[in-house]
């Protein structure tokens, strides 16, 4: 029954080849219209899980305190002192130029901030906003006195060593976008208490759709702004080093690097694959047609993704490379079979050859693609939104790859004239022969040997750790890394972490804005937080009271004086100094922390646990505070990575076991086929652990992908083996001969192509891509080793003999 379906399909494809080609041409045209709609949404934001409590809390806190969107531009003089007229003149000019950028709302530097030098200034008798360098033209020495070690501006506008100063460039928010975001947050805030109604869901979707184009435009503008800033700083490069930093600059660099990776590595992989195909097959057509099909697959996929409005994120940006390689793997198996047939039936016509090839390979190739799809489908259950969307994209890509390689590619082949085929390389055949004989003669030893190796590697799993450092995403020697690391180290860190404290002590006098106890509670928290090595800049109301104490000759303010200052300073200064840290209306205090990503040996999970414990020990109850912002959001994802990895892999194992069972109709064979794949995935996770690569949202996908790809080889091999077993009446020798000759060669070739292709990612500046490429290549090689040693050995020992019970040896082996 099954064979007739395949026979019909095989003859159908050959007969209707023109129709197939025309149909795909039409699809291509349709897809091309969607290519323009395809978008890359690679901001750091896309790595977040959006519908959970933490994210909504962060959004709500954002609206309460409304902190500005800003970039830090650090200025490090080469020769002259930071506090010198040269610096002041450069900063003034920089400021003037930067203010020309339309979206810039204000430029804050040591020249523009009010530098209060006595407590009197706080009692309303002096116009505080006039106490700036711009208005007073303080001398360099005076500026040093006023700015150095300033409780509020250290780590923000001046570094601790007084070697560099920075300019904070604040951008105007898009009022329309702000309004939409407020509405979105208002609806989402309901999620904290209950499910959304259908009405609200629809409203939410509509709002998101409205925000989308605005956000895209914003991303574009930001990119231009960063370029403009780089141009502006060029003219100062002789006197000073400049660095751009801050978390949204990181996001922007991510987009750039992903876009260039997408193009550069897509092309490089295509080139290398072409070269490998040329070397392996030594025929022009075997280079042109596979590549053409790959190109078509990718174009169709991009078009489909464009129409479906699925965006490439940091994680899914590699889909082009992945798809090229996956499509190619299927085609190499087909070609392997075709060349085998061409050599066996040298006088047959092209149509006959294609038909025979399809009859031979249609079924295993279909199942191989199916199992790969299962690998990606498992990602849908990872529970991590960005990973889920990656899984979805790859599923679409797999369907398209299947259609192209199983239907279009043979149809194209059928259009070609029959030609002669090059011989395979002798050393490859020798290698395969060795492995075949080894698994036949010493199956037990082979099993034991490979098992030991794989288990030793798997032990590394215990050493796996989860970490996420954005700066470490970029290779050490890149300019991006240098700039970000400089800002991170000298200007108070990168990743935002906010502590939102609810004010519980009501002041004795209702006239007071805030009681002394509340401020001191904040002070305790602030000191506890500052004590951590990893916390860079820590700002809150406590910095302001510290400044006031300093100005007041070391005497702290009284609670009444604090309230008076709050009333007396003009609104602008109040907002500048305390607005982002205290909400009178919501009775909340905010401590804004930036965590230094470059801290040596920072264990982020431990850090958060310690922080929570310390908050408790300074007297903050759990319900009295919230931790929000990027740092906790990422940490939340990371904390779920282990669970997610276990779920994902467990699902992959079960699903593949079921697929194998359906294909081979034998529990034993299915389990044997599963074993090399399980070992490969565990071993690759072990390697990640041994090498000490942190498991993060990028590396988490490797195991599932590796499994999905590696399983193809297993499937082809077992398929060949079972076919050989049938012909050879259960004899292990005949089955192994058939499997190695038929599938072994193709497996070796696909592995070579895939491993070489993926290892190209080693040249990327984006470390997650490097890890991804090298580890996937390694996984492929491990899968190859397992498939050519462990798998045949197991089959020889457990399957071959059993299916011929008449043989006395088999009984012995079975006992």
């Amino acid at each position: 029954m099954k064979t007739t379906v395949i026979d019909n399909l095989a003859t159908g494809i050959v007969r209707w080849r023109w129709a197939v080609v025309i149909a795909f041409a039409a699809l291509l045209l349709l897809a091309l219209t969607g290519v323009g709609k395809f978008k890359i949404a690679a901001s750091a934001d896309t790595l977040l899980v959006k519908d959970n409590k933490l994210y909504i809390q962060t959004q709500v806190a954002q609206q309460t305190f409304n902190p500005d969107e800003f970039i830090l531009l650090a200025y490090e003089p080469r020769e002259h002192d930071v506090f010198s007229d040269q610096t002041f003149s450069d900063l003034s000019h920089l400021q003037q130029e930067i203010e020309q950028i339309p979206r810039v709302e204000s430029v804050t530097s040591i020249l523009t901030v009010p530098l209060i030098d006595s407590a009197d200034a706080l009692s309303g008798q002096t116009e505080v906003s006039e106490l700036t360098w711009q208005q007073q033209r303080y001398s360099a020495a005076r500026m040093k006195e006023l700015v150095s070690g300033h409780p509020i501006f250290t780590d923000l506008l001046i570094n601790r060593d007084n070697t560099a100063t920075s300019v904070q460039i604040v951008f105007k928010p898009n009022p329309e976008l702000v309004k939409i975001d407020q509405q979105i947050t208002a609806i989402q805030a309901q999620l904290l208490n209950r499910e959304l109604s259908e009405d609200e869901q629809a409203q939410l979707e509509a709002l998101k759709a409205q925000a989308e184009p605005l956000r895209a435009a914003l991303t574009q503008t930001r990119k231009q702004e960063i370029n403009q800033l780089n141009e502006i700083t060029q003219s100062y490069s002789q006197r000073a080093n400049t660095y751009l930093g801050g978390s949204y600059v990181v996001g922007q660099h991510l987009i750039d690097i992903i876009k260039s990776d997408l193009v550069i590595f897509g092309l490089a992989i295509a080139l290398v694959v072409a070269l490998l195909l040329a070397i392996l097959f030594r025929r022009v057509k075997w280079v042109v047609f596979p590549l053409l099909s790959c190109g078509l697959s990718v174009t169709l996929t991009i078009g489909a993704l464009g129409w479906a409005d699925l965006r490439a994120t940091v994680i899914s940006a590699n889909f082009v490379a992945l798809q090229i390689i996956l499509t190619l793997a299927v085609m190499i198996h087909m070609l392997g079979s075709y060349r085998y047939i061409a050599r066996e039936h040298a006088d047959s016509g092209q149509h006959k050859r294609v038909e025979l090839m399809l009859k031979d390979k249609l079924s295993p190739c279909f199942f191989a693609s199916l199992t790969t799809s299962v690998g990606f489908a498992a990602l849908l259950f990872s529970g991590l939104e960005p990973v889920i969307s990656f899984g979805l994209m790859m599923l679409i890509a797999m369907v398209i790859s299947q259609l192209v390689s199983l239907i279009l590619f043979p149809a194209l082949l059928a259009l070609l004239p029959a030609g002669s085929e090059a011989e395979d390389y002798g050393f490859i055949r020798k290698l395969l022969r060795h492995s075949r004989l080894l698994t036949l003669n010493r199956p037990g030893l082979t099993i034991a040997g490979t098992a030991v190796i794989f288990i030793a590697l798997s032990v590394g799993i215990t050493r796996l750790n989860v970490e996420n450092s954005f700066i470490d995403y970029f290779a050490d020697d890149t300019q991006v890394h240098r700039e970000l690391a400089y800002i991170d180290k000298e200007f108070g860190g990168t990743t935002a972490l906010d502590i939102i404290l609810t004010v519980t002590d009501k002041p004795d006098d209702p006239s007071l804005i805030i009681s002394a106890d509340s401020v001191n509670q904040l002070q305790l928290v602030q000191q506890a937080v500052t004590a951590f090595e990893a916390t860079g800049s820590v700002t809150s109301l406590a910095n302001f009271t510290e400044l006031a104490t300093q100005l007041n000759n070391g005497r702290p303010l009284t609670e009444y004086e604090l309230t008076s200052i709050y009333y007396l300073l003009n609104e602008k200064v109040v907002n500048q100094l305390v607005g982002a840290y205290f909400s009178e209306q919501d009775q909340q205090l905010r401590i804004a922390i930036r965590v230094q990503d470059t801290t040596e040996g920072l264990d982020r999970e431990q850090f958060l646990n310690n922080l929570r414990q310390d908050l408790q020990s300074v007297g903050i109850a759990a319900e009295q505070y919230q931790l929000t912002s990027l740092f906790v959001l990422y940490q939340d994802i990371l904390s779920r990575l282990f669970d997610s990895q276990i779920t994902t892999l467990g699902l992959v194992y079960i699903a593949l076991g079921l697929v194998f069972l359906a294909i081979f109709r034998s529990l034993k064979v299915a389990l044997i086929a599963l074993l090399p794949n399980v070992l490969t995935t565990l071993a690759i996770l072990g390697v990640i652990g041994w090498v000490g690569i942190p498991l993060d949202i990028m590396t988490i996908t490797i195991a599932a992908i590796a499994m999905g790809i590696a399983v193809d080889d297993t499937l082809h091999f077992v398929h060949g083996y079972m076919a050989g077993l049938k012909q050879g009446e259960g004899q292990a020798e005949a089955a192994a001969e058939e499997a190695f000759k038929h599938s072994g060669l193709a497996i070796l070739m696909t592995t070579t192509v895939i491993a070489v292709g993926f290892s190209l990612f080693g040249f990327s500046d984006f470390l997650p891509s490097v890890y991804f490429g090298l580890l996937t290549a390694l996984a492929m090689i491990m899968a190859l080793v397992a498939d050519l040693t462990l798998l045949p050995a197991l089959l020889n020992k457990l399957v071959a003999t059993q299916s011929v019970p008449a043989q006395p040896q088999g009984d012995k082996a079975n006992v």
Partner: protein, 289 residues
């Protein structure tokens, strides 16, 4: 009229309150602490009482200094309780406060607004400088009597420089060119160095909040102020009134702003004053040690 009342009251109390706190104070404090002292004060309460604390966190022991304090003039045994304000003459003070407010609202604020409208800031600051310079001999004497000889030297230097180079004190080159910082000291300060306590809170007519010691200081200075030596009555009164308007003009907005924002302005101004005094006393003690 008021001056007489205040003056006699001041003399009366000054002798009594110089060293021993009034008995009511301790009783009240004891009663208060007995009610609210079931447990140890928390760290934040200790900070609010002006005491540094040590906290133990995952990063080791950290010393934390108070960010803001909440202390008043009546001692409390338990820092956990709210600060106690010693204000036995509240009824009297409230009526003076009300009188002052009316005077400010209908006289001083319009006058000082007019003054500010007519006289530009540089001139106003010169006026301030002029009166401050006139005060220097008084500061000098007070510093001498307090044993602050180097501060007295500053007063002398400032007076000489500002009276000459500073064109009769209209400018302050002593600060801006010679970097000699002002060292103001009143009779009240001098009395404080001799251990004279502040006495109960007292609102002075027109001059505003003070305490008995401060009231005595103001009155005495009124008699011996150097302005008396450069002008005779009634010019000296006019000059001092002008100084008052000039001083007030700098603070009228502050006053109005705070008055408007407070629930009970009397309590607000009183508590702010008493907390500030108590804080200064506490930190003076700390720095002496």
């Amino acid at each position: 009229m008021y001056y007489k009342v205040v003056f006699s009251a001041a003399l009366l109390v000054l002798t009594g309150c110089s060293s021993v706190p009034p008995p009511a104070q301790t009783e009240e404090a004891v009663a208060q602490s007995g009610e609210t002292n079931p447990s140890q004060p928390t760290k934040k309460e200790q900070l609010s009482a002006g005491k540094s604390v040590t906290i133990t966190t995952s990063q080791g022991e950290i010393n934390v200094a108070p960010a803001v304090v909440s202390v008043a003039n009546a001692p409390v045994d338990n820092p956990a309780s709210a600060p106690q304000y010693y204000d036995p003459w509240e009824g009297f003070n409230r009526s003076v406060f009300a009188f002052n407010n009316a005077a400010y609202e209908y006289v001083l604020i319009p006058v000082s607004d007019g003054y500010k409208a007519v006289v530009p800031q540089p001139v106003r600051s010169s006026v301030g400088n002029f009166f401050a310079n006139l005060r220097e001999p008084l500061n000098l004497l007070n510093n001498l009597f307090s044993g602050e000889v180097s501060d007295a030297g500053s007063n002398l230097g400032r007076f000489l420089i500002n009276s000459t180079v500073g064109l009769l004190g209209l400018f302050d080159p002593a600060t801006s060119w010679f970097e000699i910082e002002p060292k103001r000291r009143s009779i009240g300060d001098t009395l404080a160095t001799y251990g004279v306590g502040s006495g109960p809170y007292l609102v002075l007519p027109l001059l505003g909040q003070s305490d008995v010691r401060g009231g005595f200081s103001v009155l005495t200075e009124g008699f011996i102020h150097p302005v008396n030596h450069v002008a005779d009555a009634p010019q000296n009164y006019q000059l001092r009134a002008f100084d008052g308007v000039d001083d007030f003009s700098e603070q009228s907005e502050t006053y109005q702003n705070l008055y408007k924002n407070a629930d009970d302005p009397y309590l607000y101004f009183r508590n702010q004053y008493l907390q500030g005094q108590a804080r200064d006393l506490m930190y003076e003690d700390n720095s002496d040690r």
